[in-house]
């Protein structure tokens, strides 16, 4: 175990930091053209006509396409998750809008020209005649019977209705000492990777093959989807993922622009490049988070929660093929999170509105569940006048009750929630904080401490989809002893290639520098499902481990024969294979590799299958897709978690919230590389903080996006994000060979509940109660003003 657990620097770090990475936009081909997309300026309209005449005539233009062309040339894009498979409604999504637009930014036409500039100019010459349709941008309004309908054939705007129920909720409420109701609103925001979406499609009409370089998280599923949409053989498509400059979920699915670029390359016989602009990303790259969370909680006077009713209304924007709506489903699936509340019901309406479609974003609904449950616990604590942490400790699933099945079927794998929370309270000085708070309050400062807990189910596995609980990897040893690992998982810049190399280097007993990890090429790598849901290291790493062990077994057999001993008497470290306890009896790993390749008929390798290569698949053992007696299935195999404490200061004159400290105890099982885990957690907290306080996708009543550039869509800078104090609690997963759990996504959820709790704590003198996000200075200031005027119920901003 030389590398596992050690803080090895990322094997690509030096290259990437020096600007030597190659991203999709860096890839160029001779004769390539550039694609520009014409997007709807209206939130809801019928397309009456599209005049492409002037654009066709524009110098340098190669092709202009509209929805009518696309419908002739291709099939609808298969939904990443089809809502109809969950009993919901659905609609066909083509690369371009057919007849009707449902949000500002809907792609309606495309141009390819010799230069990016000419393509943009020509796009501006396309005249689209629209007939306005009434707009609905509020989900609760959209549920009313007289609301405008996005998809009239549905006769409703409710995409899906889901209900989870367990225990005897009514009885629990009847027996409770207290019943509390509240309504929370999470606002719309999204992922903003440094590298926007990008694609370079090359249809070679001599070879009749398509190659797509694309900033994606899932090359193999993308290839399968493209084959379907473009009506091509999968064999004739190669998807290559160059380096990716951040993804955070938005690059999981097949976007309309991906097959669109491919189609236009096929039609023109030349490569087509498309690089998304930031404004396009903010309006059409996919949104997240916007949900109304209503709860009614029943508790005993001692803080025990005996019953919970939750109503979630997910405002998922227009429907796209990218499965973002699934985030609202997951939000309801995760309730009640880490708590043992057997009498519980969740009622979910997923609603379409005339806003940008949801797309996967780090958190994937778990942040909504986390925020909801943190608020539930805080309200209970305040009502029974108990400490907020103590109420959580009272209601956690005890450590000896795993695996624990929640009402949705979510089967929590392992953990010690109470210890994580107690540890983080110790690390953060929870018990002594009140003293410090009072001392500073005497100086006119408002400091607060909040506690929160996120449960972050990982490795999602949905029946009949490419969201699956398995992964593949190949380990190959060359004659010179160099190790290649080919994985089905990919890296969006998060560094899992380093973790995988560590696992393989340890399994083979070779230096890390001899291991090369190859990812993101459908022609080279075994079929795999890509990078999302923190699955790359715990699933891809496990498959790599299996393959490496198999190769190692062969190496040891040959080495044992050479050293005239048994394989189990050998140690392999740093490329030297030694007889245990006998330093002088050794053979080099490289020599064994050369022997296997060059002398397969010689006596040390004669009775063995030639080659030093293995492809193995790993599947999670705790996914259940056959419903149990209560009709439940388990779609997540891994349940990492984090207990958190935040310290904030509120400037009561301005409403500005400053995060001073963020402390966590985080369990992702066995830590392969603390640098990778901590880097991901730090970034996740930055995104959670950004989402809670700074970032907002805001629409006016006509469905116009008001935050279409980084001038208006505010992101926190390094100054606003403190260095997160991260501590590890390693409770190994019983379901992975190394005890690893999902790592990478954790940290994005807890800031919502933890920081909100801290702000309430800071504003205790005013009795402010927080229900809505974002916590912009204006909103916080208004809440303080309202509280001063005797209304502490929170104000709208």
């Amino acid at each position: 175990m030389a590398y596992i657990g050690s803080a090895v620097s990322g094997i690509l770090d030096a290259k990437l930091v020096a600007g030597k990475g190659q991203y999709t936009a860096d890839v160029s081909l001779p004769g390539m053209g550039y694609m520009a997309v014409v997007r709807s300026p209206y939130a809801h309209a019928r397309i009456l006509s599209i005049d492409t005449g002037a654009a066709q005539q524009h110098p340098g233009v190669r092709i202009v396409a509209t929805g009518a062309d696309i419908k002739q040339w291709s099939r609808p894009i298969p939904h990443t998750l089809n809502p109809s498979a969950f009993g919901g409604k659905t609609t066909d999504i083509y690369c371009l809008a057919i007849d009707r637009v449902h949000y500002v930014g809907t792609p309606v036409a495309a141009v390819v020209a010799d230069t990016r500039h000419a393509a943009t100019e020509a796009a501006n010459l396309i005249e689209v005649e629209y007939a306005d349709l009434p707009v609905v941008i509020d989900a609760e309004r959209a549920l009313e019977p007289d609301s405008p309908l996005l998809y009239p054939e549905w006769e409703t705007n409710e995409l899906m209705h889901v209900r989870f129920q367990g225990g005897d909720v009514e009885r629990a409420f009847a027996d409770a000492d207290h019943i509390l109701d509240d309504t929370l609103h999470l606002h719309r925001h999204t992922a903003t990777p440094l590298e926007p979406r990008a694609a370079l499609a090359h249809y070679d009409d001599r070879a009749e093959r398509l190659t797509l370089w694309v900033s994606t998280q899932a090359p193999h599923p993308l290839r399968t989807t493209l084959a379907n949409t473009l009506e091509m053989d999968e064999n004739d498509i190669q998807v290559i993922q160059p380096q990716v400059g951040g993804a955070f979920g938005v690059k999981i699915p097949t976007y309309q622009e991906d097959p669109l670029a491919c189609l236009l390359s096929k039609r023109t016989g030349k490569p087509v490049k498309w690089v998304e602009e930031r404004t396009e990303h903010l309006m059409a790259g996919g949104h997240a988070r916007e949900q109304t969370l209503k709860f009614s909680v029943a508790c005993k006077a001692d803080g025990t929660v005996v019953g919970l009713k939750v109503r979630i209304i997910g405002d998922v924007g227009a429907l796209a093929a990218v499965a973002g709506w699934g985030m609202s489903y997951v939000a309801s699936f995760v309730v009640p999170g880490p708590y043992k509340i057997p009498n519980c019901e969740v009622d979910l309406s997923i609603v379409v509105t005339n806003k940008g479609p949801w797309n996967a974003y780090r958190g994937f609904g778990k942040e909504a569940a986390s925020f909801l449950m943190d608020r539930v616990m805080d309200r209970v604590a305040d009502t029974v006048q108990m400490d907020r942490a103590a109420v959580r400790l009272k209601n956690f699933v005890p450590k000896d009750e795993f695996p624990y099945v929640q009402i949705s079927g979510a089967t929590l794998d392992s953990g010690d929630y109470a210890k994580a929370l107690q540890d983080v309270m110790d690390k953060a000085g929870y018990q002594s904080f009140a003293e410090e708070q009072q001392r500073l309050h005497a100086q006119g400062r408002y400091i607060g401490m909040g506690v929160g807990f996120e449960l972050t189910p990982e490795g999602g596995c949905i029946p009949d989809s490419f969201i699956g609980g398995y992964e593949g990897a190949t380990v190959r040893v060359s004659p010179s002893g160099q190790v290649t690992v080919l994985t089905g998982v990919t890296s969006p810049g998060s560094g899992n290639e380093t973790g995988i190399a560590q696992i393989v280097a340890d399994a083979l007993g070779v230096p890390l520098s001899t291991v090369r990890v190859v990812q993101g090429d459908t022609q080279a790598c075994p079929y795999g499902l890509g990078n999302w849901s923190s699955r790359s290291l715990f699933m891809g790493g496990s498959a790599s481990l299996y393959a490496a062990r198999e190769v190692h077994h062969k190496v040891l057999r040959v080495a044992a024969s050479m050293l005239k001993t048994a394989p189990e008497d050998l140690d392999c470290e740093q490329g030297r294979i030694r007889v245990k306890g006998q330093a002088d009896r050794e053979v080099a790993f490289n020599d064994v590799a050369e022997y296997v390749h060059k002398r397969p008929f010689d006596h040390h390798a004669f009775d063995m299958e030639p080659g030093l290569e293995s492809t193995r698949y790993f599947r999670m053992g705790n996914i259940h897709h056959v419903p149990d007696d209560k009709g439940r299935i388990n779609t997540y195999p891994s349940y990492p978690y984090a207990a958190c404490v935040a310290v904030v200061e509120v400037d009561i004159e301005t409403g500005v919230v400053t995060l001073l400290r963020y402390v966590t105890v985080h369990d992702c099982g066995t830590v392969i590389n603390p640098l990778l885990v901590e880097g991901q957690f730090q970034g996740a907290v930055a995104q959670g903080l950004g989402g809670l306080i700074y970032e907002q996708l805001s629409y006016d009543d006509n469905g116009q996006l008001q935050t279409g550039t980084f001038m208006d869509y505010t992101l926190p800078t390094a100054v606003e994000v403190p260095s997160v104090e991260i501590h590890h609690q390693e409770v190994p997963s019983p379901f992975t060979p190394l005890g690893t759990k999902g790592a990478g996504e954790s940290g994005v959820s807890s800031p919502f509940g933890t920081i909100v709790s801290a702000v309430e704590n800071a504003l205790m003198p005013f009795g402010v109660k927080i229900h809505d996000t974002p916590l912009t200075p204006q909103r916080v200031w208004r809440m303080i003003q309202a509280a001063k005027n005797g209304n502490n119920g929170g104000a709208k901003a």
Binding site: H117, Y694, T714, P716, T717, V719, E720, T776
Partner: protein, 292 residues
């Protein structure tokens, strides 16, 4: 992405720049001066402006000079924010201008963006205008008919509009040398570090030997579409003891003046007006502490 073709000019003198501007005006072609480009390029990238000509001032020699001229500082319009922030001369004789320059954008922006560029662009959230207004700065402008000097109160005309005409170039900004006992401060309210000012307040406070106010000047951005100077209090507060009541009187005057702030997505008019009061209070308080 720059969306339209354009001609790029690189004059080596102000006269040449003025000639190019005049030529473009005569030809009816839209021209923009490039003086750092930290607002112009984003605007072009977004397609908000598409000038047919860009006239870069980067190669005009001497446009970035900072010199003391008697009781004035003469600052070349091409001086970058970074140079202003780090200039010992400015830090010594007009520290409020250095403090203002240091809080604009980030290091990359400050390395490129210039004083003249910011004034010419005149974003309502820009940090220099309120400070230049309170300093009674003078602006030297060269046009086809020669040079003229405009006072600060006359240059900032309306929302994103200055009194510079299309064929003129701003060459120099003159600000007074402040006496060493003057306390100054520029404070700004932003969502994030380096962001645009929701409200920005500059204050200059001189004290008499008995601690009373010798002079007070306050300039504010965010209170109205153009920078506001609190002229009304300049005389009435003279000779008054500088204490909390004094500071509150300035803050109240600022609040009264800010009756029509430009509302923003996350800062409605009433909130912004209240922030004018808060940040005026903070600016004057800091200036008074520094005036000792």
């Amino acid at each position: 992405m720059i969306r339209a073709p354009l001609q790029f000019h690189r004059p080596h003198s102000i006269d040449e720049a003025v000639r190019l501007l005049s030529q473009c005006a005569q030809d009816g072609e839209d021209a923009k001066l490039l003086a750092g480009g930290q607002s112009l390029l984003p605007s072009m990238n977004l397609g908000l402006v598409a000038p047919a000509h860009i006239i870069s001032l980067n190669h005009v020699t001497g446009l970035d000079a900072i010199r003391r001229d008697d009781d004035m500082l003469a600052i070349g319009a091409g001086t970058t924010h970074r140079s202003l922030a780090e200039s010992e001369v400015v830090q010594t004789y007009c520290p409020i201008l250095s403090e203002t320059a240091a809080c604009i954008g980030d290091v990359q922006v400050r390395n490129r963006g210039t004083l003249g560029g910011s004034i010419g662009h005149f974003d309502p959230a820009a940090d220099y205008p309120p400070v230049l207004v309170l300093l009674d700065a003078a602006f030297r402008i060269v046009g086809p008919n020669g040079e003229r000097t405009v006072a600060a109160k006359d240059i900032f005309v309306d929302y994103m509009t200055t009194s510079l005409s299309a064929d003129e170039v701003l060459t120099e900004i003159r600000v007074p040398v402040l006496s060493p006992d003057t306390g100054t401060a520029y404070v700004k309210f932003t969502r994030v570090e380096g962001g645009f000012a929701i409200v920005g307040v500059g204050a200059c406070l001189g004290l008499n030997s008995d601690g009373t106010c010798r002079s007070i000047r306050v300039g504010i951005c965010g209170a109205a579409p153009v920078p506001v100077r609190l002229t009304a209090i300049e005389d009435t507060l003279k000779g008054k003891t500088v204490d909390d009541t004094f500071i509150e009187a300035v803050a109240d005057a600022a609040y009264e003046t800010a009756h029509d702030p430009v509302a923003e997505l996350h800062a409605a008019a009433d909130y912004k007006r209240e922030m004018v009061r808060v940040f005026t209070r903070r600016a004057v308080k800091t200036a008074s502490e520094r005036a000792a």
